[in-house]
């Protein structure tokens, strides 16, 4: 099982094979998009920003020196890109008379190279879910969608309702320990 954490140590991009870079991408993509989304509040823009980062990073890999971990380096880069994007957007928005536009918090935390504990938890959850076998992962993610019935998930995946239930059960069993680790206080709350 792949694990993602921030104690990976420095990484030498120029020595990476393309397929290694791809697995870095798979490992960090959703989590980096989440970080950017916090700033832009726009998933499409977040995906574009993160993809642009990965493209540029690959193109310039010979000259990039990463002193911290890849995750730390990446999150600072994409947050900065997101803030730049916001600045551009806010000047663009001034010329529009939209009755609804998303909010943008002005007071963004200044980027730090070591993501805090909450962010690391996010990464761990995302990693654990993405490590589930494909069908199981799909069933789990579909079941996270708003009030989706098992029958609907079964149709979407082309499997029976009972198989959906079995996938979910196995997914929950696998995620149980991760969840415990991530949300350690919840238990006390329930017991009052």
């Amino acid at each position: 099982m792949k694990t993602a954490h921030f104690n990976d140590g420095p990484i030498d991009l120029s020595a990476l094979e393309r397929k290694d870079y791809e697995s870095l991408f798979h490992q960090y993509y959703q989590w980096l998009c989440l970080q950017v989304y916090k700033i832009t509040e726009d998933w499409h823009a977040s995906e574009d920003i993160v993809q642009d980062f990965f493209v540029k990073c690959w193109q310039n890999r010979a000259s990039i020196q990463i002193r911290e971990t890849f995750g730390g380096f990446a999150v600072v880069s994409v947050r900065n890109a997101a803030l730049n994007y916001l600045k551009k957007e806010s000047t663009r928005l001034k010329h529009e008379t939209a009755s609804f536009s998303t909010f943008s918090g002005e007071e963004m935390p200044s980027p730090v190279s070591v993501p805090d504990e909450t962010e690391q938890r996010y990464l761990q959850i995302i990693t654990a879910i993405n490590n589930l076998p494909e069908q199981r992962r799909k069933a789990f993610i579909l079941s996270r969608q708003h009030n989706k019935k098992y029958a609907e998930i079964a149709v979407e995946l082309g499997i029976s309702v009972n198989t959906v239930k079995m996938h979910l059960r196995l997914a929950y069993q696998e995620l149980r320990n991760v969840l415990k680790l991530l949300l350690p206080f919840f238990f006390f709350f329930l017991k009052k």
């Binding site: 993509y29 959703q30 509040e41 909010f103 007071e107 996270r144 708003h146 949300l183 709350f189």
Partner: protein
Amino acid sequence: MQQVPHHINWELLIDLLEKPVAERQGLVASLSAEEQALIARLQQLKDDPLLTGALQLDTVQAWARMMEKETAPVRRLVGGWKKWVAAASLLLLVGAGGWLWMKSRHTQSVQRYQTVAQALPNHAPSGKVQLITADGHAIEIDSVKQLKEKDGTLIRLQQGTVSYQGGQSNGIGSQSNSPLMNTLVVPRGYIYSLVLSDGSKVWLNADSKISFPVQFDKAERKVAIEGEAYFEVVHNDKWPFTVAIAGGSGGAVKVLGTSFDIKTYGKKIYTTLVTGSVLFTPPVANPVRLTPDQQTVFNVAGGVIQTKKVIAGDWIAWKDDDLVMIKMPLDELAAILERRYDVQVSFAEERLKNIQYNGAFHFTGNIIDILNSLEQTGNILFAVKNKTIVILPANGK
């Protein structure tokens, strides 16, 4: 805590998880603590819009798209339509959420909190708009369609507007020295408008008041306001229009045929000119003449006046239920929400008051909509305790 999981009833658990949260309540109580904890944790994952949003992203497809990008010239980041898709997905992603997520970080203090949706469902303002007639009767505005003042002036009350029949053409109106005065009281939670007997229109923001003669004096038109009002005054060179602010202690605005906004909540009085020309006369200092898109800010306590350039439209957006925020601190926004929705808002931490927001919002009938949008910034969360909406940091420590 690393016990071997014993007798988890997976059948039951899986069936329970398919039900909407509201339907689970009674059933969950009968589960073992371990089963409860598991359900709660899974729900917590589901309720986190950031996490669910991120997990929906298709990494494989993204990698493929990126490979195209690498060879193609860099394209523009966000087209116009994407904004709307984003807005739509934002609505989809907002669940009852954030709340449970927050709980895990505020274990000790949070037990008495409820979500806004739970605590304030269909929240409605507690007061009613009232019209106080010349003889001192308070009439609830939606209880009658029309009424007549003692001098014969017909008053129509409909569709969010009170209108006074003009006197000149009908030979009615006060000729005496003591005109009949009415007062329109707009409590928190409402916006109301008024057509005065000269045809001038006034919009009153929540928590505001205007006193005015049923028929204006021949020599001058005088009204008095508290709170916030936007005026569109019918132009007449020979019939001056004056607005007294906060019983005169906040000064007065002399109007020369024009539209303008006066905002008097708190310690500062803002006069913003949209069109025409007004003269702001503070109680002590020299009068200031404003040109369109100018604003005076009068600090009542200090007696200091500042004049600055603004976008006047932003300052009168409230009358159309719009909110425009430009570097607006959260405590100012909280005060607006308190008035607009008749709620109490407090801060869990003092520093949160200074978070600034840029953006625009159209107020809906339900406060939850704006709170959900604000939570999307990732900086803050809302919960309810003792009927007060509490603003908490999103990254609780």
